[in-house]
């Protein structure tokens, strides 16, 4: 592993609100090396969004620390960009695609020419060079999520955090966007932390997959994905190794579920039963 860039140590988050306390994540420790692509997979309600917000400095952990490049995160770091699951609400409908992508750059005090260049390059990189003057609501869901990715890319972050970015788009668009993420990662050398509830997606995308248990959340496994670096939807997903890895992740998650409940049921679950499109949870949170 390369030099750790992001360090998550003993992060715990308990939400306290009107008479109700929810322990969203119990104890999470891991680190991410510079330039890695790490997927975090876990069932709905496991605390994936909570973890991501703690890392992004949008939420203060109840215990534990997040460290980015040696500095403790206590607010949104400059070197990070977040792609939210709710792309429709994350893009500003009163601004054009170009306006949305450019807005964070204005805060960076970049001059006009440089901003133009970054916006153009980012939109080109996500395959949206020709829609810059459209409004987000004039685009399809997949295109909107591309705009949100372009906005993050143009920001030139060291770390890109993505929270189930493709949970709400159709399967074909989703496959295209997954390949887009891999190609952007190759091209930009950015560190990516990608959260998903989809086991196949996590294995297909990641160099590493962190498997979360269901709540109270801990890390079940830190799994290296030894698939070839060149991945294609058709070949990679039909390779025996892919099936093995996916089966393994599935098993881990089942283990976590049953360890919580009835201990004896654990052995009945085999990966073979989930050969087709296994997801951790049938319905994703929206």
């Amino acid at each position: 592993m390369t030099q750790p860039l992001l360090d998550v140590a003993g992060v715990q988050k308990t939400y306290t609100g009107s008479g109700r306390t929810v322990e969203a994540v119990r104890d999470l420790t891991f680190s991410v090396g510079d330039g890695e692509l790490v997927c975090i997979v876990g069932p709905s309600g496991a605390g994936k969004t909570t973890l991501l917000k703690c890392i992004a400095g949008l939420l203060e952990p109840t215990a534990g620390t997040v460290t980015l490049a040696g500095a403790r995160v206590d607010g949104p770091p400059e070197a990070m960009a977040v792609v939210f699951q709710e792309y429709g609400r994350s893009l500003y409908p009163w601004m054009t695609v170009e306006g949305n992508v450019e807005l964070p750059l204005k805060q960076k005090k970049l001059d006009k020419a440089r901003r133009r260049e970054l916006v153009r390059d980012a939109l080109e990189a996500v395959g949206l060079a020709d829609v810059h003057s459209a409004y987000p609501w004039q685009l399809s869901g997949g295109m909107q999520q591309r705009v949100a990715i372009a906005r993050a890319v143009a920001y030139e972050p060291k770390v890109l955090l993505m929270d189930e970015p493709f949970a709400a788009v159709d399967a074909q668009t989703r496959a295209d966007l997954e390949d887009l993420i891999r190609s952007l990662w190759h091209k930009l050398g950015v560190t990516i932390l990608f959260v998903t509830h989809d086991i196949d997606e996590s294995v297909y995308l990641g160099q590493r997959v962190l498997v979360l248990s269901s709540s109270p959340t801990v890390i079940m496994e830190d799994l290296a994905i030894d698939l070839p670096d060149e991945r294609t939807q058709l070949e990679t997903r039909s390779s025996p190794r892919f099936a093995e890895l996916r089966g393994h992740v599935y098993e881990q998650i089942q283990l976590a579920k049953h360890r919580k409940g009835d201990q004896h049921q654990r052995d009945e679950v085999t990966p073979a039963r989930t050969a087709h499109g296994a997801t951790v949870a049938a319905q994703h949170d929206s």
Binding site: K53, A56, G57, L58, P76, E78, M80, A81, V82, F84, E86, G88, R89, S90, Y92, P93, W94, M95, L103, P104, K106, Q107, K108, Y135, P136, W137, Q138, R151, Y155
Partner: protein, 277 residues
């Protein structure tokens, strides 16, 4: 929420903005107006109501057209429009400024909520004696009434609009380090804009009412004062003619406000239609 009864009218105005006016309903509306005018013409002519205090419609129109040929009429119109414009302008600046402030500071909002709820329903006309006492007769008193009436309409809308910022949009702004000013300009203001426009439309209408009222009760000049004068000199058709004219002014104000709304919120209606959520 405990303040549901003062939910801004904006939500209710929604379908109106979305739906294009259809031809049949426009034709129907026009037909209704024609029938109404015919009724106003026939009632006095057939003697069902006395023409002494309710002249036929054609006479009202004739009196208005006659008045419209005089400089006096247009001077009065200019005075009314001026009081309306200045008053609405002051109410806009104050309402939007304070609304943005109160809406974004939770503490300030809670601190002012009851006071606003108490002051807002006070009818502007109830302040007439106070206005005269404080400012005497004239434009200043008129402006006090106009501003008071329209200010609350705008303030309430802005306060609600500011609170309507989407949590995801807000977190996006935070994670991309948008500063305070950038947040107001690119997030809070556009979010509040549909509410602001509703406030402007309601405020503009009520400002006109008060601008005329002030003249009518003798503290200001303009169309209201002209109506009062016509009445005291027993020029009954002219009284009605002037009333019709102030009604027309109201229609124009509303049309302009709606056009402005449509223009500034092109993105908004479409968002509701296409993305939904």
């Amino acid at each position: 929420m405990s303040t549901t009864e003062v939910r801004p009218a904006h939500a209710g105005a929604e379908p109106v903005r979305r739906r294009r006016p259809e031809l049949p309903s426009a034709v129907l509306g026009l037909g209704g107006l024609v029938v109404f005018a015919a009724l106003l013409e026939l009632l006095p002519r057939t003697g069902i109501v006395s023409a002494d205090y309710f002249p036929p419609f054609s006479e009202m129109v004739r009196a208005l057209v006659e008045a419209a040929g005089t400089d006096r009429f247009w001077a009065a119109t200019a005075e009314t429009v001026q009081a309306w414009g200045i008053g609405l302008g002051i109410a806009l600046v104050a309402g939007i400024g304070l609304g943005l402030l109160i809406g974004s500071v939770e503490l300030l909002r809670r601190f002012t909520a009851s006071t606003i709820e108490f002051l807002r329903p006070v009818p502007s006309v109830a302040l007439i004696p106070l206005a005269v006492l404080l400012l005497g007769l004239g434009l200043q008193s008129t402006l006090l009434l106009v501003v008071y009436a329209s200010f609350w309409q705008i303030l309430i809308q802005v306060v609600y609009g500011v609170q309507d910022v989407d949590p995801v949009a807000r977190e996006t702004a935070r994670s991309y380090h948008l500063g305070r000013w950038a947040r107001v300009r690119y997030l809070i203001w556009p979010t509040a804009l549909p509410y602001v426009m509703t406030g402007v439309r309601l405020g503009a209408a009520v400002a006109l009412i008060l601008a005329v009222t002030a003249g009518l009760v003798g503290i200001g000049t303009g169309l209201g004062a002209e109506i009062a004068l016509a009445q005291s000199s027993n020029a009954v058709p002219l009284v009605y003619g002037l009333v019709i004219f102030t009604g027309l002014l109201g229609v124009v104000v509303n049309l302009v406000a709606r056009a402005l709304e449509r223009r500034t919120l092109a993105w908004h209606s479409s968002v509701r239609a296409d993305v939904g959520g």
